[in-house]
Amino acid sequence: MPTLTIDNQTITIPEGKTILEAAEALGIMVPHFCYHKELGAVGSCRMCAVTVHTGPMPGLKMACLIAVEDGMVVTTGDETSATFRERVGEWLMLNHPHDCPVCDEGGECQLQEMTISSGHGIRRYQGGKGTYTNQDLGPFIAQEMNRCIQCYRCARTYKDYCGGRDFGVMGSRNRVFFGRFKEGMLESDFSGNLVDLCPTGVFTDRTFRFKSRAWDLEQADSVCPQCGVGCATVPGGRLRELQRVQSGDNLQVNATFICDRGRFGSGYANHPERPRQARQGDQIVSVTAALTTLATEIRAAVKQHGPEAVLLVGSDRASLETNWLLQRTAKHFGCRVPVLNAHRRRHQTAQMAAFDLSERLASLQDIRSSDLLLVCGVDPLAEAPLLALALRQAVRKGGRVVVYDPRPVELPCDADRVAITPLALQELLADGGVEGRHLRDLLGQAKNPIIVAGADLLGLAGLQKIQKWAEKTSNAERPCLVYPVLAGANSFGTALLSLPEQDDLLTRLESGKVKMLVCVDADPLLEAPEGERFSAALTHLEQLVVFDYLPTSLSQHANLFIPSCPPVEDSGTFINNEGRLRRFQRVLKPGLSLATGDHPAREFSLGTPGSDPQPAALSLQRLIGLEQPLAELHRQLVQEQPRLAALAKLKAGEAGSRVAPAVARPQQIDRLPEQPAQTLELVVSPARYGGDLFSRYAPKLEPRKRPPCFYLHPDELQAQGLKDGDNAIVETDFGSIKLPVRSQPDMAGGCVLVENSEVFPHLIPGAGLSYCVISPGGANE
């Protein structure tokens, strides 16, 4: 490892690092613009000039481009390089407008910081400034090209890193223009990263425009709750309103990017219909009163009808702490163990990940450096967007991606795609003959193979087969890893906590023994299949109790409702797809936004309006009379679950470490249902926008949402006597549905594809292999 001296300080650093990185490690900030740790160094801005005193050609050099050498001597404060950097600062300021007072970037602007550190101050150039006409790039990104310093980071982010194709650099000399080929909403699902990557105020969050100054925001390190990837985020709130979400850093997970769904999908926290007050029947009560009532009623029910009488339900969007406290609550009141996931099949597949695959889990960082990725039964942009970005980075480095899925899986990179029905995919994974052998050979010969497995589409049977493939293609030098795509932010966590006696929600409800159902941050109607059975079972209950922060219809039907908090208003833990513990820190307290127009509230009261909600975890602690600090809670949790030992040291904003692996359990092979004659396979996929519960309550995401329809391959359409745009009726195990049909040539034949979203909540993904019959549906009503 070479040792070099920068500004009289010595450092030993791995070979291949640059002078800029070595300086950073020493705490010396060399001014720069075009360098970014994820985008790399290109040497265009010339701001990072330093003086290298040693070597065959000493002199002014760009620190981001020079690899460190043993014995190298570098200064950053000498007159030559300091003067040159001041010149660069002056050149970049030639055309820059004096926009700081009206520019959203102010206070978190890299240009402000680097210009000051360059030493440039008073304007000497009195010539004309270049000006541009801005484009309307859609509802998410505002463009102010006059502020551009031509660092090219936007084009490199959008095109090179994220694989977008409708935005880039045009023109030459000091007229270069960074924009879309023509005006219109940016198409990439990662367009929001322009906001974070632009070092000045050219690209800003249009949904946050002129709302708040960065230094006025309450911010904390959090985790995005909208899928199982677990990206680091930094949400910002002010005056009780969650105003924006920025990406956080996590080398293992999302590097430094997030998707648009997570960035612009935070409207649920301040949704006007969010239930903020506890309710008993029709009467508004305090949360304390409601909890007291609840405790009394639970005790009464158990006393009268036994442990089966009260059924507690958690979810994969509730934190680890909340779900574990549910188990403690059940113990405290002598109830039967809670059901932590109303969706039975998702629970089973998540358990597969949490136990049987836990020794061979891959992180997104592993995926980014893999040379062969077999993507089975996943649509990354719909189910785990940052996964799609990670796949792209692997391809950019020379890796290969092979996709087997029935859906028209779109990826921001080249991939070999095979459109295959779910049943055919199961058969392929069972053995697959020549094709299966070929795929296993590819995996076996690769240096770092990873199988990306979609839990919803593959189900337990599919994941079991994937596990066998991973075992078969591992060798002494390296394992074949697996990245399971689970549905919720905490699917892995709830599966890990679940006790064997948990049993299935519907089975218990339909037994007739349950008198009171208590759903905590859970809505089985929206989050589990067989909604009709669940609705029917509800009618036999005496009491429905709901804790939630989303304005769901279940919360309206509750006899007793207690308002809870989303993760931004709480501190807790999720475990993501690959078993990584992710800590989120409270960003802001709940309340109705106090920002009425330009001025905080002018009304005065003892309490903040709308501030009743408290995190479900806290409510449960109060319910069982056990309030204690988070650290103590964790200590007790780890005693019960030693795999979670890393909880003790976990901090928000850190990468987070994996839970300890478990021993794989003996396998029980699920038998697959036979396909009835004359049917098509039914494929239910989450919509990219509106598929997850949070994005349904995010008004900002409306422009990206699509009306529901059935997608069929054009040959299949023709075989069924249908044309693109016709109405069709699809008969399924879950009821009969009428929607228009759309021709989709990139999907598999032999199946019907429909997307689950708020405009089509009837069918839930992950319900297993199912079949349907399609027929023409007549004219529109």
């Binding site: 290109v42 040497g43 265009s44 801005c45 010339r46 701001m47 000039a49 002199g59 002014l60 481009l65 003067t83 040159f84 010149r87 660069v88 002056e90 050149w91 970049l92 030639l94 055309n95 000497r124 150039y125 009195q126 010539g127 031509q150 090219y152 650099v169 023109g171 030459s172 000399r173 000091n174 007229r175 270069v176």
Partner: protein, 425 residues
Amino acid sequence: MSQTTQVLFKNRIPGKTVFLKEFSANGGYQGLKAAIQTMTPLEIRELVKAAALRGRGGAGFPTGVKWGFFPADKPGIKYLVCNCDEMEPGTYKDGVLLQADPHQLIEGMILSAFALQTQVGYIFIRYAYEKQAENLRRAIAEATQAGYLGKNILGSGFDFELHVHGSAGRYILGEETALLNGLEGIRPNPRLKPPFPAVRGLFGQPTTVNNVETIANIPHIVTGGAEWFKDLALTPEGSGTKLFGLSGHLNRTECFELPVGIPLREVVETYGRGMWKNKQFKACLPGGASTPYLTREHLDVPLDFTSLEKVGSRFGTAGVTAFDEDTCMVAVTLNLIRFFARESCGWCTPCRDGLTMVRWLLEMLESGKGTPEHLELLKGQLKNISGTSFCALAEGAMGPVAGLLTHFEQEIVDHIEGGRCPFSK
């Protein structure tokens, strides 16, 4: 017509283009035939090195050394690219050469390809040279039919395919790595070096890029030998002849083939037939728009690489643009800077924004609104733009500015003190 030895212009008849029949009749392709049968690629490369040929595209890098970096024996596809993106103001010699004698370049390409063992060649030609591109395409067809191009050339076992590629870009595509990006069809910003094109060039493969005139010399070196080639020059360290493209305030502004090392005075007085309208010589660009000015004190300097470096200028492309005593050198420099600033690709700060600043300073000075501060600023810009940009465009743009500040600072002061350009009517 000049009295000196005509090598490159051997077949040239002004107004006419020579094709295969006349080219062959005059000895064309004899060099190729002999060399490809009797010499090894290594021998040809050694010969070019011994001939001390220096690049004719402006940089003057020794061709033999450049070829020495090239991994001729490496398996896999390799490329030879001819840079015909001649866009420097005042440089037009490649256009004249290809108008006259396209086959000479082709023979040079084939010989060079054989020496470097490159299987594919591209002649990258600027958009405006439509006629020359047409000539080349016709000549390639003739050469292919005659068996000089294609598979197993003249039974040697060597394959070489040659294509003409019309540039879709501006001046920056004369920079070799921007040229390669343009050839590949991507945005033609220059590339970072290292890696150099010999290691990773066109489509990531080993590539050599050479100027038209450089390659046109190869057949002659092969037939005449290294000593003969060196003896063509008038200076001891120089070699070969050079195409001098004259322009500016001369009585005759044409392209002449003259020995390397010819004194400036002879170029101006004999070949340029002296300054026009009975004016006096004031200054000139010796080697194209990006070289520092020479003045009256330099009239006896031999025009060659080393001798011009000694006096603070460069041989460049030998595009000699002469200025008479009524020329405002500030205006000349401003005109040139306007060109370079306009042609900046926009990638790096010193070129994109630095040249903007320099242009504004020269506009202030030329218009009479300049102050002593502007002069100091201009000196500071020269110091900080030289050697700090991503490619050599900005460096070249500073050539005339350096010349102006070295030899004509008094003229600038006169503009400032007089409040106007002293040469304006």
